[in-house]
Symmetry: D2
Subunit: 313 residues, 4 copies
């Protein structure tokens, strides 16, 4: 265990007095390692604010309110429904995350978070690689170019796992050979110089694990979770997002409920889809051809509503 | 006192147990009103992180370190000197601020903070206006179009104060008359409708006070303070920035020291100014004409170095 | 007319050869003053990109495509429906805008644009104030604290206009008196100093006009327009947004269509509202009490669907 | 050549009439491939604004100016020296860039640009890997953990190149085998399914090439170039930044000059370093011990000034 990890573990034992908004359910899991995938984790490092802090900030804008808990919940529902995002920016959360590089590349495409990532220019990466669980070895979807389909089986699955394991191991062996340096800083061969770290790292595949500190405000956190916790997100990123959704629930339970109701499990309705529903509710005749929707949109609306839309008057 | 202010005051009495990084010197002043100008204030509402949190985030990037306090200070100096900004983004601070509208307009031009401002579309503004202290009634600088010069005196000063007070009072009287509404919601004249709040407010001058919640990360906070705490900033904004610089010192003392040394009290040297200094240190002959600096830059460098630069070989 | 305005007018006469994406419909209105309110305007200053530039950027991400115009439209619809925002960030638009200060304060709360505003610390503001058209003198809504209701009439309206005109004029007279400076820089009274500009401006009411350059990317522009072009936005800001929506239509017609269909005229459906619609479409019995919706949400859904929702099985 | 590349090449032949600010020196290189490293490139795709557009935006803030070219240059110098960043945000530049993944990861850490990157979830990556020129095979610096030292020679260099080439080739072969798909979409083995693209890509090392569209405003572009064009930046990222600095010079020549003079070739002086220089210029006695500087800072200042600082009175 490295020294800064020990330092964090020490924090787990210390407690302080504070007058800041404090969330008992988060304190319980602070600094705890929550495993994700084969070598990854998320670990809550710090947070600022709670449901009441959102309400308090909103009241500065929208005027003087009362302070019954039931009204707090109602105000948070109102803020989420009407896209008032600034009160949610008043809360922050900070994680320590470890994930494969190819997943981190998606994750860090979100520019609204603050990040400190482990630098392989400076330090040597650990010998840790993501090897999928055989149940996750999905074949390419033919419908959806970004999608997965049936799980590979038998020999084909075995061959994939063999490739991933052997290539990872060989690349890492060669990384060490080029560096000419062991984990403890001693050279493999005292008669060689060793390639600089910033160059040697280029031989590592993107299933190699990286780690970073990641801090984001609650508004942008929810936006991130609505994209990465969605069923269309790649499995390997979704499992991280799902663990974070559980933490969201502990942190700000009223906001979590509104987020689920109006965002993650809500749906957008286009102008033309709205027209179709209005007609049906009025008992009018409608077919795809007369609906103003394309065939794809018609199918999507049927699937959203779980019924056949075509109606005879 | 409005109900949400009472709520905040109640927080002052409550304390909680936390395992988060906690700064005793900030806890002491949490929720306290710190007066600025005649009716304004700043009030610390929340914070996240401390000097150690910066070091911890930096160590994730730059590798495994030790944890002696002396090394924390050195690492923070290094980060500030070499413009490594991301570890400072890992800390956040949140204020409740009250200031005149014309100052708030400058303040809110900084886009890196989160803001919830009192809405005069929704609520009625208080009868509070900034009237400068007579010592601040400076005349227009003739050199610097953005600057002040000598303080106005006698009749001229008295006339300015009279104008500001009378116009503020009259505009507010008319605001109430147009609203046709008292502070408690009852109408002045039950036979009139009253103009909507979002329109009536347009009669108020920009020395009227507004208030807002303001949250920013430590990196952007220091950038803000280096601009608004500078001697070229308008007096009325600088007094707010200076109170916040005192809070910075309580919050992150190592970072504060580095900030003062390398940023607020440091200076940038242009390529050509650097060349001039090198020549002088080598004992070479130099004049403004041969220096590569314009007359203005030459004067600025002399004023920075507090000497005459011209040298005979 | 000030010199930089003359400069812009000169641009209208010059044309250049470029290989950049160019939109004929925007070139036609470039640099033209489009009046808004009594003294305000918007003026298109520059733009970057067009519908094809969005498609081109998207194809880098999503792979090799064809280039039929019909497929460009389909891809843009897809991107808007699935919230792929980055290709729209690849286009930029820049305006010169003049509007009352109280509206500019809302406008500039959006932090995703770049702004250069006229500085009253440095220069003297013009004698121009927003005085509403009598048809816009709405009374305060009793239902909605941010809303307007019936238009004021007769004496009450006349009194409001009188107040606004007289207070504006008097405040500006006093502004000039405090400055002791005419528009051409000569003093009113050569025996007085004059208060500095950065202080004298504080006597001006927020219906005074300001102006600024404003540049934003297409993604954030659409987000801005969906909020400020909405019927709940204050009339005085909405009229600016509506002029910009017309410019959006000229600039990127495919994106404009998708924006109207899926965003401005689309609606969000909460998880529980979706459940209600599904039940109705399946012919199930439902009442507000059994729906999972609050009374307010039930009413809102009825109003969205323009029918009574309660159904007997 | 893929179809969207053909499309871009076609643009090279078309020209349009525009009234927008147009820069002849940029038009000349628009859409042209500028090679960097062994398989990478940068290609200018679009731009908005020029030196005059900066001046025009600044004049809205700072008042009415004249329009002599000499004054434009002076105003731009002033803006850069005094850190007035907003007028530079009024210009934008857009590139198509191809670079190795490990370099792209640094590049994309800058969150102020807009990005559309090639998606390996959706499409198949090309068989292209960065293999350094033998002159760039530097050994690890012992002083500076992020640095390089002497170039590897003879057998050691040969072995590094062999590893990089063989591992890249083998990993790509296995990538194709897992995908079970050729470039033209036909399967290698019609009896197998093939692993989904989003998973198969994880076997590729980070010296594999990726590509993206990248758009940034001029203020943030200069900040980026000052960090990535600096001599401490890794060679492989610096070569891209240097090509872009050449494009900056073509685009906004006045801004480029000011940027070089005050930023890229200027230096910051800490409060204590300033004190030391003042003392020396006044002829006072000084040693490192009495200077207030640490040994490291003393050395750094000596190296900056290219003289021995210790002085006898």
């Amino acid at each position: 265990m490295t020294s800064y990890e020990e330092e964090i573990q020490e924090h787990r034992l210390e407690t302080f007095q504070t007058r800041r908004p404090t969330v008992f359910e988060l304190e319980e899991i602070l600094f705890e390692i929550i495993p994700v995938l084969d070598h990854g984790f998320i670990r809550l490092i710090d947070y600022m604010g709670n449901d009441s802090a959102i309400v308090q900030a909103a009241r500065v804008s929208y005027g003087r309110g009362t302070k019954k808990v039931s009204e707090d919940r109602g105000l948070i529902n109102y803020l989420i429904r009407h896209r008032h995002s600034t009160p949610f920016e008043m809360c922050e959360i900070k994680f320590h995350v470890k994930m494969p590089i190819f997943i981190a590349r998606h994750w860090l495409r979100h520019r609204t978070a603050s990040v400190n990532e482990y630098s392989a220019r400076y330090s040597i990466l650990d010998r840790e690689f993501y090897i999928p669980d055989p149940l996750q070895l999905a074949s390419q979807s033919l419908q959806n170019k970004q999608g997965r389909e049936d799980v590979l089986e038998g020999e084909e699955a075995a061959r994939v796992l063999q490739i991933l394991k052997e290539d990872s191991a060989r690349c890492y062996d060669h990384y060490e050979e080029m560096l000419n340096e062991r984990d403890d800083g001693t050279p493999l061969d005292p008669n060689r110089h060793g390639l600089s770290r910033e160059l040697a790292r280029m031989n590592l595949p993107v299933n190699c694990y990286t780690q970073f500190y990641w801090k984001i405000d609650l508004h942008n956190f929810m936006h991130f979770l609505s994209l990465r916790g969605d069923q269309h997100a790649q499995y390997e990123i979704r499992v991280y997002a799902q663990k974070m959704i559980e933490i969201l629930k502990r942190w700000v339970p009223f906001t979590f409920d509104a987020f689920m109701k109006y965002r993650l499990e809500g749906v957008p309705l286009s102008r033309d889809a709205l027209k179709v529903l209005k007609k049906i509710l009025k008992g009018e005749k409608i077919t795809q051809e007369t609906s103003g929707l394309s065939k794809g949109e018609w199918r999507e609306l049927e699937s959203m509503m779980e019924v056949t839309l075509e109606r005879e008057s």
